[in-house]
Symmetry: C2
Subunit: 599 residues, 2 copies
């Protein structure tokens, strides 16, 4: 049935919504696709719902092709399964919790690993039942601290989440690749360019995790890639550590006065003014051919406060080369699931051995941090701080630093940690050359969970030998409403939206552009003919609206093919208007039907 704009529930708006920051948000509201209900919570109007249904249909078809079966879980779920896996606590303020009239705890699920695991546990018992991949397209909830950017980061959003179940690691690999391949087809069909980057497997214990990022300068995620094909998000990047250096022949550590040098830059300036130049070729970082002290010679020790899941608070110190920052996202991943924040003044006051601005792993009387630590504070090092490297760093005395402090001789960490910022030019860990940094938007995530959830919830099956084995799982997510917003973000101009045909709310937008009855007669017949040819038609039959306003609405709404039925109508002529290129072409009505229905 032709949708007639004279009755259709659509009002376009002239003004951008006051709270909209990004283009997709502005245009989707102005063009009548969505409407805000609360921060990060939107209603879907008829146009928006049509686009959403088309995105979902593409995903559904590719899930079916990949052998996955669709189920549907409720949003409202009881606390217990999430309690068992610790996620009830781990999510902190990030989820919506509530109680029912009997005071039982519930949550609005942010993701469904637990209940999918329990469902399979309920129904399956043998390796012969596997592999299995099941998915849902479902509304999820997260209580974001700063819901923003319209649909890009909402508090209610639609996701496709799939979960695979296998009795062997090889099975998991196959299930993972089937979903990964399906994701490639989905994004290709949606016209979304993507880069597959290694992602951190995090505290999940999974062995493989990749994100699909759409590369764009306005993306919120940073990733690195090399010309040789390496790609990873910054959290997953691993540092290429230099070879350790023999400890022989290095001088002893030297404490020196360094008044008013609490920052790396002041320390470097002071060193160049008061110390002999670093000896070219001695063991240590970045010294070859360098005749001045630089930030790369210094070891920056940053105190962090972890809050563990059980509520306990722990100070840790990370030592990184002074020419690099401690990257917030890498820190978060490195210490997950603990929450990380900077140490406070109280923390320093409680640990008098930590002299703020002059912290180091060593003092005249021995180890302060690391092995045989005097402080009891764990000390993690950047992988570049290998044995034999010599550093300028704090001497744990106010206004004093030490140089020629050698790793592996004068200090040793409690382990290495990937928290230093990644820079363009850093070598890719796979040897494929230096990396460059780029930005992107996450559009999908495939993830080998391994046995974490199956272990926690007791999902085991009998194997070929009749022995119980724990099932290994994968988790695969696409943010449906998010990628809809990304498509809108990428497909627009100053006039409005320009949908790819695969997700456009209508295939053709017919405009009766004038007041003569013949225009309406021809437009109505053309619309009916196009519908009969299997196309979805939006027909702007508003009797008293000017052609200019109708054209403006058509451009704003963004159906890719527009037909203008104007002055030529009496002669059987109409105009085909390509919304993307702007090209217009006069053709006969019959040709219009033929051209538009040839796909």
């Amino acid at each position: 049935m032709v949708t007639r704009l004279s009755h259709f529930f659509l009002r376009t708006l002239r003004e951008d919504p006051a709270d909209a920051e990004v283009t997709s948000h502005k245009l989707l509201v102005r063009a009548g696709y969505i409407r805000r209900q609360a921060p990060g919570i939107f209603a879907w109007l008829p146009l928006g719902l049509r686009v959403k249904a088309k995105v979902e249909q593409v995903i559904r078809e590719e899930m079916t092709n990949a052998g996955a079966y669709e189920v549907h879980f409720p949003a409202l779920l009881p606390r217990e399964p999430y309690e068992i896996t610790n996620r009830w606590e781990e999510y902190g303020d990030g989820i919506f919790r509530l109680k029912d009239r009997k005071d039982a705890d519930y949550l609005l699920a942010p993701t469904h690993e637990e209940v999918f695991t329990l469902l399979v546990k309920d129904l399956y018992s043998s390796y012969k039942d596997l592999p299995l991949t099941i998915y849902q397209i479902q509304d999820k909830y997260r209580d974001e601290a700063r819901p923003r950017a319209g649909l890009l980061r909402g508090r209610e959003f639609t996701m496709k989440d799939a979960y695979s179940f296998d009795s062997s690691d090889a099975g998991l690999d196959a299930s993972y690749m089937a979903q990964r391949d399906a994701y490639e087809r989905i994004f290709q069909r949606l016209g979304l360019e993507y880069v597959i980057v290694q992602a951190d497997a995090g505290a999940m214990g999974g062995s493989r995790s990749e994100e699909f990022l759409h590369p764009t300068a306005v993306g919120e995620d940073t990733f690195v890639r090399s010309a040789g094909g390496y790609a990873a998000n910054v959290e997953a990047f691993t540092t290429v550590a230099p070879e350790p250096i023999a400890l022989d022949g290095l001088g002893a550590p030297v404490i020196f006065d360094s008044p008013n040098t609490p920052t790396i830059q002041t320390l470097v300036d002071h060193s160049n003014a008061h110390l002999e130049a670093p000896v070219s070729g001695i063991a240590g970082p970045a010294t070859d051919g360098v005749t001045e002290w630089t930030a790369a010679h210094t070891l920056k020790n940053v105190v962090l406060a972890l809050t563990h899941l059980d509520g306990t608070r722990e100070l840790v110190i990370v030592g990184v080369p002074g020419d690099r920052d401690v990257d917030d996202k890498r820190v978060e991943v490195a210490f997950a699931p603990a929450a990380v924040e900077p140490a406070t003044e109280q923390d320093f006051a409680a640990n008098p051995l930590l002299v703020k601005g002059y912290i180091g792993p060593w003092s005249e009387t021995g180890a302060v941090l690391g092995e045989e630590s005097a402080t009891g504070i764990r000390f993690f090092l950047d992988p570049r701080v290998v044995d034999g490297t010599a550093w300028v760093t704090g001497a744990n005395i106010d206004q004093k630093h030490v140089h020629t402090l050698v790793a592996g001789r004068d200090f040793t960490g409690d382990g290495f940690v990937e928290v230093a910022s990644v820079r363009a030019g850093d070598p890719a860990p796979d040897g494929s050359g230096p990396v460059e940094l780029a930005r992107g938007m996450e559009i999908g995530h495939v993830f080998q969970l391994g046995r974490k959830y199956a272990d926690a919830l007791g999902l085991k099956v009998l194997d070929e030998n009749g022995k119980l084995v724990t099932v290994t799982m994968g988790s695969y997510g696409i943010g449906v409403t998010r990628i809809l917003a990304i498509i809108a973000e990428l497909n627009n101009d100053d006039k409005g939206l320009i949908w790819p045909a695969s997700v456009a709310p209508f295939d053709v937008h017919v405009v009766a552009a004038g007041r003569e009855p013949v225009m309406f007669d021809v437009a109505a017949q053309l619309s009916a003919d196009l519908e009969a040819a299997g196309l979805d038609v939006l027909y702007d039959d508003r009797p008293k609206v000017s052609p200019g306003v109708k054209f403006g609405d058509a451009e704003l709404v963004g159906v890719p093919k527009i037909v203008i039925v104007g002055r030529g109508a009496a002669d059987g002529q109409v105009e085909l208007w390509d919304r993307r290129t702007g090209d217009r072409e006069v053709v006969s009505v019959a040709d219009a039907v033929a051209r538009l229905s040839a796909r």
Copy 2:
């Protein structure tokens, strides 16, 4: 693509779930359609999701035919709109409430009148924009005190809710009828017999309200109907009041001793033993030709405690003929939105004029209840207590009653109220004859809301004369998951489900019944041919499962058409099995395809 049972996510269960009370719940769980997550909260497995999608599709098509446009609101909504209409309070414990991380109040919406009203207010401004009907198919939440009967009364459930907007009463009537007609088509297509009954318009102030009930002896709702076409639920039934009787010539009220007669039956027995027989033909209820005292001669006065929305508590008394009960559902509707409960011992203690078991509207010293009441308690009468009727009732003295107490002379109520039970044989209010009582299940509700929500939320449009007028609205609901359960409840036998073709999860269930390769070859080809003919096919290709188990599963799952590919396969013969009738017929493979695809 043919769905193969060897891979499909389905496990049938032998045992009924322990918590299942009704057939639909038992069978939907056993046959692998749904799975319980919490009380009244279910996950949908692939079979169930397919049936649900088909029910939704029927509804969607008829909504489109009725000119309604689909939108989709979030389940999580802010408190404010519901606060304005008082529903935040009115729902009491019946809704899920929660707070976000900023301590703002939210609810999981039980229904969406407020936000639909605000949406139209946001976008529309003129009578020319109307009429408009918009709808959604969406998951709703109610914190039922006793979630039960599986999907029949869940805490999360899917509803189609539509709302109409008109600038005139005549417009509302037309929009209402369009939805009402659509409902008739929907239930016809779903094979659901229905009766349209008048329903109470309640506190909404709407002028018309009708329920679609499926008549069934196991229904939870009682309704009345006459042979002449009247039908109403008991809450909406209105009593035919007798004509008032002249007050002349009636004797004065007589107080008499009535020891140990706190109940109607003891009072009637006592009266027959100690009073003169009632005079035939005197004014009063049910006296013509009656020579014994009966319950119908007595006036039963029941004390109720109302709790108003503002939290205040008020005692009221209802007087009904002693041969009728006070009906809980009619009381609830009569005093809505106040909550009603029986008066407590404390209430009686606080009102010494109320002598329990001997309460009446009159005492020797004058009015106790009603006009010039000595108690201050409002007194509502059954419509049958018209002026001139004479009653036996309490005298407000322990162990004493009064007879010949005449309404309109000795006492007057504060109004009439429809709270007495309805009985078979009561006259229909439209004069269409006596009613009978029947039971049914609610499957839909159409409702003229009038201007309640538009008034509260300020939805006005400019009329033809440029004046602002308040919009008038209708509300139209179908419980999608509920009618799915009702269809299951009505379509089954002791072997399992038997779906109507319009909502069956698959069109055909093909069973390879044996171990010979030819059976699998023929079955696979037949399945592919049926899919090519446009049918959805479930093919039981499990290699090591016996024919008996496969047949049992097919019967339990309930696809209406089954094809058995067994011993005849080598000769190109298969068996068509009609799940509903049980008929089996041997046909050639070619005939099977032709027969099954002819619809």
